[in-house]
Amino acid sequence: MLRRFIGLILLLTISVVLVGCGEKEKTIKVYTRDTTSGTRDGFFSTIGFSEAVTDNTVLADGYVEVDSNGGMITAVKNDEFAIGYISLTSLETANVKGLSFNGVKPTEANVLNGTYALTRNFNYIVGNDFTNQTEAEIVEAFLAFLTTSDAKSTIISEGGITEINNEDPSWNDIKADYPISNKDNSEITIKFGGSTSVEKIAKALSAEFSAKCGNFIFEHNHTGSGDAYKRTQGSEKSGTNALHIAFASRDFKDSEEATLGTSGKICIDAIVAIVNKINDLDNITEVTMKKIYDGTITKWGEIE
């Protein structure tokens, strides 16, 4: 029995060596997030490869699917020949190399001035039909709060990309217009939800605004961008899943038309293509990126 095992191991090893010897040039290992990921949606939509948003079969052979931003970072860190994509926020601590996109460096400034194109919007949508007057007023105040420098700076500090203009009021400036903020709202529960990508920003905003608006109770149940419209103004708006305020990490579709004044953009999120630290590639174009992901380009040597 033992002899047979050893023989089998040897045989398998030899076969691998034979297969292995054929590779001369290093193949590009393509890493992607799973199909439920908003980052994946944003990435493939922007590089003009929207077929790949929910479909793995169009991707290059030998692609590797990871199911989190963290998984992507670990994977690319471990693989010298990898290419992947993460949210710009986590690039700095990730210890991987972020690539310029169409010659533009992935920085916040470049995102804001519109030159860095690999981005997606984070949007909000609120309910349009509240029976409880207090809730309606808090939601209204929250929308006003989103325009203040207070909220914007919080969004920025949580990794969202947005700009604070000099005209932006501070909450103290406009507080008087929203008398609800001076009442004790600690009995009121405001439900937040929607995209998981926006969850961190949403939580920071709700915590800050609760302090500024009578300590209302905030509940977060983030289940994905698809539920943002559905649970505020769509089919689930009056059920147990209903939300007061929801976020989406993509633009709303035509089928998700919100009532005027109840939705909008809160910030931009940049996606950055990443490679291993030792890779000497610095820049990648939209066209090359698509070719890499659809398998037209398979070797690192083929990238000009």
């Binding site: 095992f5 691998v16 010897c21 199909t35 199911d67 860190k77 471990n78 994905g224």
Partner: protein, 318 residues
Amino acid sequence: MPILLNWMDKLHKNKQFERKILTDNIVKNILFVVTILCASVIVFIVLFILLRGMSPFINGYEINGKIYTVDIFKFIFGTTWFKTPNLYGVGFIIVNTVYVVSLTLILAVPISVLTALFITRIAPDKVGKSISYIIELLASIPSIIYGLFGLGVITTVVKNLSNFFGYQSAGGISTLSSAIVLAIMIIPTITMIASTSIKAVSQDLINASLALGASPTQTNFKMVLKSARSGIFSGIILGVGRALGEATAISMVAGNSGNGPTFNFFDTTRTLTTTMLLGLKETTGLDYDIRFSVGIVLIVIIIGSNILLNFFNRKLEK
């Protein structure tokens, strides 16, 4: 008749004894019901997973405004896990799973059996005991820690190994890494059972072998292992079960290739369990329920392999 008189004296106690018998019966029935409940757990589990897992093939799911069901034939024989909106295939995943588990066995079985032999027959008593204790400790380590170890250490080793062979792996995330992690996890299981069955080989047989002029080593390898083979095989059966069902550890090193099957050691793979865990957080509807269908496949494979291996084991015993 004094005895009879004595009887009459104690007659009033009769009721107390009747009560005791009644209590016994009540207790027995309660325990019986509880036992039946425990035994029916598996029925409920299989039933519910079957119900939910069959749903993708029967009920329609709304995706982007249209209603879809999953083609069961394509599901079972598919070589692509997912193509939007409703194509799911586990055929290659089944092959991958079986392949990874076979590879695991090739790694784990020799090591486990030899370790068991060492513990029970070769090593001095104290050394044997301490090693068997170390093996027991290994068995108690949670799988998530094996996953962490796999991600931090084994992938690096495998990556270097593949570079050595001139093959480019995905940072060591591969079939081989998965097999190694699984092997580490099932070595304790097989070793513990194998050593019990080796211990059970009767000293008479061993003495007989020695008396025939075989060296202790020859006796160990030829006679002892042969006599204990049925026990060793049951250990292997248990190990296969554990390897097939392991999820978290392997999902950290498998890589989740989307199509296949893959037979190269250094390529990424996808097993039934990693498929069930992947992307679980955000998913709903069809994509969620299909995991139950994969669960059905996993149950069938586990029960099937168990029956098959036990059948072989019975043959081996003969």
